[in-house]
């Protein structure tokens, strides 16, 4: 694998450094980025290993899903009052992770952020696969999952309809929409590169397969024109969508009057948390990819720097939300709210979860005040892992500590997960990895045409000094 190219001694400040630098010409670049698809990259022998390990975990996931279907939700640790626990935690967590992808590709294209180009496809794929997981959990956690379609409005003889006063049908709408749009956005973005894959594919069969996927794209300028319009509009649609989805997920909780859930800050608070965890996930993915495929010229310090900053910003916003939440509870004068926020969480049976997740989420990003750490691969990776886990803990804390001690002390009860709960959580990670490895293996995970365009624009700016 290629070692990071040494920076010139008088390196300019990070934010002025190039988004991409000294790339080979288009042909070579294409060759470099697409050859893994044909030859599996410099470490081709790793692939079977990765697929097997993640595949086994994914298998565990499906076995446990089947077990739950067969026996009942009772195989989990849930009880009354804690009727929601791991499944919903996992659901919120995965959907949150999904957000960074759309955020990066849609938001940044609207803001015309050039650094987006190198990482947006990876982020989008991450979104898709996270959503696959996120869509499994709500169905899985039903008492009678085989009736999940009762949440969808369809004409039935009994004239029974979903209840749209509840937040759960909103969820169904939001998540299905989000998945569809993310899929379209991702695929539209892929089309030109699939054409490139088609045209550089060795062998007729591969040509055919990728040819079909590329829909016969030939790079005509008329196509590029319409493509641009559609792509920008999709981005414009995905941007409010990404905000709405986690807002609606947050309504699943804030629509209830449970202390700890019933809070108006939830929508922004959830969106921030989602993007926060998403960026952590993006870093966890691109750092290994970057070094494994030697993409230091495509994914440069500039990217790491920006992502580091994003972590810092989101971390601060999240910290603000925590403070704001607790203060509101205190200031409300409502004894139940006060108990949950000021006693049950910091001092209750799950206090250790509360404190560890709060400290991790708030303190970890603070290291990125130092620009050196913002480009330090190890620091970034570790911080991302910590945040990644802590954000799961946050959702757990939020759901379980509110439920296990609510209004009537007589009904308070402790919650402890079973091995099935753990297995499903780990298995879902396995499924994600499996899908993601497949994407890395067989899809152009760096947006070629975008990259070429960016380079063209940068060069032109350099020549004409255009903004």
């Amino acid at each position: 694998m290629a070692s990071p190219a040494p920076l010139p001694s008088e390196a300019p400040p990070l934010h002025e450094r190039l988004v991409i630098r000294n790339l080979p010409d288009n042909a070579a670049l294409t060759q470099q980025l697409l050859s893994p698809i044909w030859r599996g990259g410099s470490r081709w022998w790793l692939w079977p290993l990765l697929f097997c390990s993640s595949g086994l975990l994914a298998l565990l996931f499906f076995v446990l899903i089947f077990y739950t279907f067969a026996e009942g939700i009772g195989v989990w640790g849930n009880n009354i009052p804690v009727a929601w626990a791991y499944a919903i935690t996992d659901f919120v967590w995965w959907i949150g992770i999904g957000h960074a992808g759309t955020f990066i590709s849609a938001f940044l294209i609207l803001l015309n952020q050039k650094w987006r180009a190198s990482i947006n496809r990876i982020a989008e794929a991450m979104t898709l696969f996270a959503l696959v997981n996120a869509m499994i959990f709500p169905v899985l956690h039903l008492g009678r999952p085989w009736f999940f379609y009762w949440l969808i409005p369809y004409p039935s003889a009994m004239r029974v309809w979903p209840n749209f006063r509840s937040a759960l049908p909103w969820d169904v709408a939001a998540i299905s929409t989000y998945f569809t749009v993310s899929l379209l956005f991702w695929y539209v973005g892929l089309i030109p590169d699939l054409a490139a894959v088609r045209d550089s594919a060795p062998g007729a069969i591969r040509k055919r397969i990728y040819g079909l996927l590329a829909l016969g794209w030939r790079g005509a300028s008329r196509h590029w024109q319409r493509y641009r319009i559609a792509y920008i509009i999709l981005a414009g649609l995905a941007t409010p969508l990404v905000i709405s989805v986690h807002s609606i997920v947050s309504l699943d909780f804030s629509i209830a009057q449970l202390p700890g859930w019933h809070s108006t800050i939830f929508p922004p608070y959830f969106v921030v948390g989602a993007i926060y965890s998403g960026f952590a996930m993006v870093l966890m993915l691109i750092l290994p990819i970057r070094s494994a495929f030697g993409l230091h010229d495509v994914i440069t310090e500039r990217h790491l720097d920006v992502l580091g900053k994003m972590l810092l910003v989101m971390g601060m916003l999240l910290a603000y939300s925590y403070v704001c939440e607790a203060f509101t509870a205190y200031y409300s004068g409502n004894q139940f709210e006060q108990y949950t926020y000021l006693f049950a969480r910091p001092m209750g049976p799950y206090a250790w979860v509360y404190w560890s997740m709060t400290l991790c989420n708030v303190l970890t990003p603070q290291i990125f005040w130092w620009s050196y750490l913002r480009t330090n691969v190890v620091a970034l990776f570790c911080a991302s892992v910590v945040i990644f886990v802590a954000m799961w803990a946050e959702r757990f804390m939020l759901i379980v500590t509110s439920l296990n001690r609510d209004f009537l002390p007589s009904s308070w009860h402790f919650y402890a997960p079973t091995w099935v709960d753990w297995g499903i959580l780990i298995g879902s990670l396995g499924l994600f990895c499996f899908l993601f490895f497949a994407f890395l293996r067989w899809a152009p995970f760096i947006p070629l045409s975008e990259l070429k365009r960016t380079r063209f624009e940068l060069r032109r700016e350099a020549e004409h000094g255009l903004p």
């Binding site: 939700i73 009052p81 929601w84 999952p145 209840n163 509840s166 009904s411 308070w412 402790f414």
Partner: protein
Amino acid sequence: MTDERRDRWAEALRGRSGAAYWRGLEELLDTPEFRDAVRHEFPAAVDEIPEGITRRTFVKLLGASLALAGVSACTAEPAEKILPYVTQPPEVTPGIPLHYATSMVLDGYATGLLVESHAGRPTKVEGNPAHPASLGAAGVYEQASVLQLYDPDRARVVRADRRRSSWTALTQALAPTALRTHVGARGAGLRLLLEPTSSQVVAELLDRIGTLYPDSKRYYFAPLASGHRESGMRAALGSAFETQYDFSRADVVLALDADFLAAMPFHLRHARDFAQRRHIEQPTDEMNRLYVAEAMLTPTGGLADHRLRVRASEIESLAAAVTNQVMGERAAQLSNIPGSARRAVAHLRDAGGAAQSPWAPWAQAVAHDLAEHAGRSIVIAGPQQSAAVHVVVHLLNAALGNVGQTVWYTESPIVEAGEANHALAPLAEEMRAGQVDTLVILGGNPAYTAPADLDFARLLRALPRSVYLGLYENETAALTHWFIPAAHYLESWGDARAYDGTPSIIQPLIAPMYDGKTGSELLAALAGEDDASAHSLVQGSWRGRVGSANFDAFWTDVLHRGLVPRSAAPRTQASLRWRTLVRALEQAANARRAPAASRGRLELAFRQDPKVYDGRFANVAWLQELPAPVTKLTWDNAAMLSPATAARLAVANEEMVELGAEGRVLRVPVLIVPGHADDAVTVSLGYGRAGAEEIARGVGGNAYRLRTTAAPYLVPGATLTRRNVGHPLAITQMHSALHGRAIVLQATLEAFRRNPRFTQDHKGRVLTLYQPFQYRTGDQWAMTIDLSTCTGCSACVVACQAENNIPVVGKADVLKGREMHWIRIDRYYSGTPDDPAVVMQPMLCQQCEKAPCEYVCPVNATVHSPDGLNEMIYNRCVGTRFCSNNCPYKVRRFNWFDYNAEITETEKMVKNPDVTVRGRGVMEKCTFCVQRIRRHQIQAELEERPLRPGEVKTACQQACPTQAIVFGSYTDPEDGIVRELAQARSYAVLHELGTQPRVNYLARITNPNPAMGGGER
């Protein structure tokens, strides 16, 4: 059981169905495998085994197949003519349940019941409003007994020496000609062991046996029927009378270790009378005052205005101290009391060191209060208290002039009450001496319940001949030569008398499912009348009593009503026998002089279990999973300690310890109970069963092992040693503090009088953004629960379970917090952990008008009906459980597994056909017994009339002994609910949430004695 054996079963059962199964089994019944199976595997087809919900396929097959046979036997009406309750049409209409009057007997005392029968299947037991011992209420034992009827573990075959035999074979063996060869011509070797009985039929049969075998003897034994009450009575009044109380006329009540509201005979009636004086509406109303002195916190103690926690052994001198003072204060009126008695009382008081005791002022104040309410007070002592205490109490009631007013005496309904043969020890003595050849045991389970020092099990096994009639193949059955399956009382004809002497006929609801026999039939066989059926015996006996002139009319009427009207025992003129009385007191005093419980050691008290009684109900899953009234403990018994004592002994909750008494040990987990007396430990009897009852087996520890003839209720010097192993206890309520939340409102009577509107901020409308739906037209259902009269006895919980087909989940799931009860009784402590104030609060679906559960359900599975019910549509529910999360009262229950998947055919027969049996993955909850509402509405429609006020009763309301629960439609001005809702002390729990509950609570009013710093609660 090995596979090849299972295959043989399958082989035997293949291709057979219904009755054919019997033959299929009978072919196997004589194989050793089967007898093995009978003892070990047979009873395994149960609703729920404690360890969880797994079940072996073999057992399923076996249970189901046998039960199928049961079905064929089961839907058959009894051959004889049984008559439905008077208010019901005599003919059976499919789908319309009938109610039959009968009685259940516990240790000889009958409680009149109405049993609901669906097409010949008894499904629910309710109280008989006309019966003095019930007045329409029913306790947990009575209500759960219907599940025992269908218990698949019940014995099914007559055995002789482990071999299958038959009733005819037995009757031949017991026929006088055959029996005389063993027991001698005059029956010198024949002994009968019965439970205390009040049955006239049995009494007559015993006499006939007595004449047939003049030298035979009979004994009565029930582990919880103490001799103390009787011996105290004999010492004080010369004969074993029954003390009758009228709590409705008592202003002040002193209960000395007496749980008269929930445990003692006639408690349903006592609770009702007591509650009359507790339920106040206007600030001007008067209410009674309750003093309780006890070691273990009981429902009665929880309701007390002043509860004194003392070790059971201190009660003696406490009672003496109170009596002494009362006699002092009322000296003028009590000239007739001889000085010797006064001295004896003082003696007894000082022997217990009353003067130095911390409770001396308490006793003084109570005595003063009693003296002030002379003639309008009651002092009552628990049956487990010593004879001396009972003596003192009789003296005290007399000294207070209560006798003849609130207290009077009647002849005991129990046969040979107070005789020496009401004990097991003499029988054991004879057995040890080898004087017994044949022992016939009717019911009970002496091998398990006998005092440990008698070593009764070994003696029983050693007998040449023993016959046992029992419901189960239990510990006793395993040791006797002959075993006869007994008929459940819902399958039997018989008669019995209530505590107050009222006789009633026990009529069967259903033909014996497993050819069970009644005690009377077995006795008849002994008396040589082997073909006499219980029915003919009962009828014959009563014909003999009322004369055959208008007997049929009488019989019909008695069966209709369930009792002989106006037949309570007359008051007897009992006067104190000073000589015996004084001697009894002096003896007690001198006994005390001997070094009593050395400090530091524990005083071990045994108590009747509020759920399994003496162990006879240990196989009733409803009761095993019923949270115990105060401790909320399920599926276990425990060594109950006060927090201070636990700290002193350095033991923690749910820690296994070894209780030792006179060399015998018992392993039980520790349960710390606030309000328990220090240096004392209380253990429930009835657990640690080792019989063939699958549910009961292995649950808890057998406290009988520590029980001796000398110390049946109290072991002064018990030891407790730690075992350093944990034992999780399935307790349904983890937190008992109110955290300053407006959940339970209470006030003292003075405070209430000062500010009658103290609940004002917790009722009425709250501000809302939306224009609420107006519930005005038609019936609008509502409920009130009076916290002043709720004792927490849990009768409502069992009633609800029976009415609404609520499954049992087992200990594992209770530990996880998955119990299914639709109504639970929350118990909150306030004050210090050592001596807390207790309040019980039944919590069920509050039927909120603005139900938080409804708007979060994505599929409209829970919505509101126009008559104000929060409805649950089971077959629409997908199980998101959001409704439960959003329920502030957490009264919704979820089917985590398919809890009904593996119950046997017999158990299915107890299900109420009017209520859906819920499957896996759906939410469920209280519906205000909507099935009852709709049935009555339909009935009213057919009769073209509006619903009558109070016509619809919910199951919990119906069962409540104190009538704390009132239910009705507030749009009907005639309905009692209107008045209750309008009460000053009504309020809504968590009112500020704006859920607008249809269930209102009546704030608890206590009446502490101002002289005792009464304001403190």
